[in-house]
Amino acid sequence: MIQYIDMHAVLQESISGVYADLVTRPTGRVVRERIERAIAGRGGGEVTVARMDFTGVGCIDYSCADEIVAKLLRDRPAVLVLSGITDGHCEAIEPVLSGHGLAALIERADGTLEGLGVAAAAAALLDELVARRLAARRPGGTYALTLA
């Protein structure tokens, strides 16, 4: 099963005000803790798979990227599929992942899955999804989620 996480909604629940940006470590910490509560106990012993939808999120800074994405991956075996993501978001998340030797998958608008971070780690994530039939190879040779 893939857990769906609406990052904009989690952000809105996490901070007072109407801000749409994932910035600052305190904000990142609160957002991550909400996500951790949401995914806790759902794995049933399997690697957690979560689809984090960034639609509606303005800016994400390096501190927040580290506090949310990198720490979620550092603290548990997980496959994070980042959707609704812009090049600007990737610019903050990619170096943070690479710095820790980690990777996530990004889901492009056409459904294509791509690696973000360390290539070998990203390939292992894709293998995990394919093995659990959560992703499949498409005619063009690219991969996409089967439930998308």
Binding site: V23, S63, K71, P95
Partner: protein
């Protein structure tokens, strides 16, 4: 008795050391300070937020009374006075200084050059407000006037966020940020966007001392602390994910041929782009509390990316 601190006529990062020297000299005997800006002709965002930091540091501890605030004589040139008001300086200075001279009641940020008026930063919530505001104001200017790729707008907001968080996480007190665009004839003859951040907090050396002092041994000081933070990405926190902020700012600036300079205590470090002739590291400067950060992003045009 009151001690005089002269505000340089052209007050920017280049004349800041002269100001810091006067401030250090006047602060020695713990008398009330008078910051004299009556002859000021121009001040950069760095000068304005630096002056606020000096005002914050000059409040004598334990006083609390309005009478114990330092004095400030406002610029007498009406244009300068009007500009300082539009840049949001007096809105923040009113709490820190006993101001002498007529201050115009002008709303801040009514012109395109002032992308973000002088704004106080005390908590994470303030950083959210700053980032939100700058994205509304700056994206058009960054793309149309500086010829930056629209993608660079988010990177700019990230850099601003990380620079402001430095205050929230490390200063131990509040600080200020200002962002402006202007024609920089002196160095480049093209437009630039400048981010200036200043606080009068504990500074980099004090912040990093518990974790880095032993590693550097005899070399430990303000310059070593700045080098550790900006070049080596060291943080006072043991969490391996820390230190991302300044590293991220550096990456962004390398990509857009930008510059960052950080002054803290008696030292100043800079990542110097090809168009500038600044010194990478200076030590033995007049002491000044906290940290002052300058970020410059030039109009792209013919600049190498």
């Amino acid at each position: 008795m009151t001690r005089l601190v002269e505000v340089p006529a052209h007050f920017d990062d280049r004349s800041f050391d002269q100001f810091a020297g006067a401030f250090a000299e006047a602060s020695r005997d713990d008398e009330r300070l008078l910051f004299d800006a009556h002859a000021a002709e121009w001040a950069s965002p760095y000068g304005l937020v630096g002056l606020l930091a000096a005002g914050q540091a000059a409040r004598r501890p334990g006083s609390g009374a309005a009478a114990e605030r330092p004095l400030l004589t406002a610029p007498t040139n009406p244009e300068v006075l009007s500009y300082w008001a539009r840049a949001g300086f007096f809105r923040e200075a009113g709490e820190l200084f006993e101001i002498h001279g007529k201050v115009p009641r002008v709303k801040a940020a009514e012109e395109s050059e002032v992308l973000l008026p002088v704004t106080s930063v005390r908590a994470a919530e303030d950083v959210h407000a700053v980032v939100s505001k700058i994205q509304q104001r700056a994206s058009a200017i960054l793309a149309s006037e500086l010829s930056l790729d629209p993608k660079a707008t988010m990177g700019f907001a990230m850099a601003l966020s990380e620079a402001c968080q430095n205050i929230v996480e490390h200063a131990g007190t509040g600080g200020w940020v200002a962002v402006q665009a202007y024609n920089w004839r002196r160095k480049l003859a093209r437009r630039v966007v400048v981010i200036a951040v200043a606080d009068a907090g504990v500074g980099f050396r004090h912040s990093l001392e518990p974790t880095q002092n032993k590693r550097f041994g005899d070399r430990w000081g303000d310059a070593a602390a700045l080098e550790a933070a900006l070049v080596q990405g060291v943080s006072r926190f043991r969490d391996p994910g820390r230190g991302q902020g300044l590293a991220g700012i550096r990456r962004y600036l390398v990509r857009w041929a930008g510059k960052i300079a950080i002054r803290s205590g008696t030292a100043r470090i800079a990542i110097v782009p090809p168009w500038d002739d600044d010194v990478p590291l200076k030590d033995g400067l007049p002491p000044f509390p906290g940290a002052q950060v300058l970020i410059i992003i030039p109009e792209q045009g013919s600049a190498e990316r």
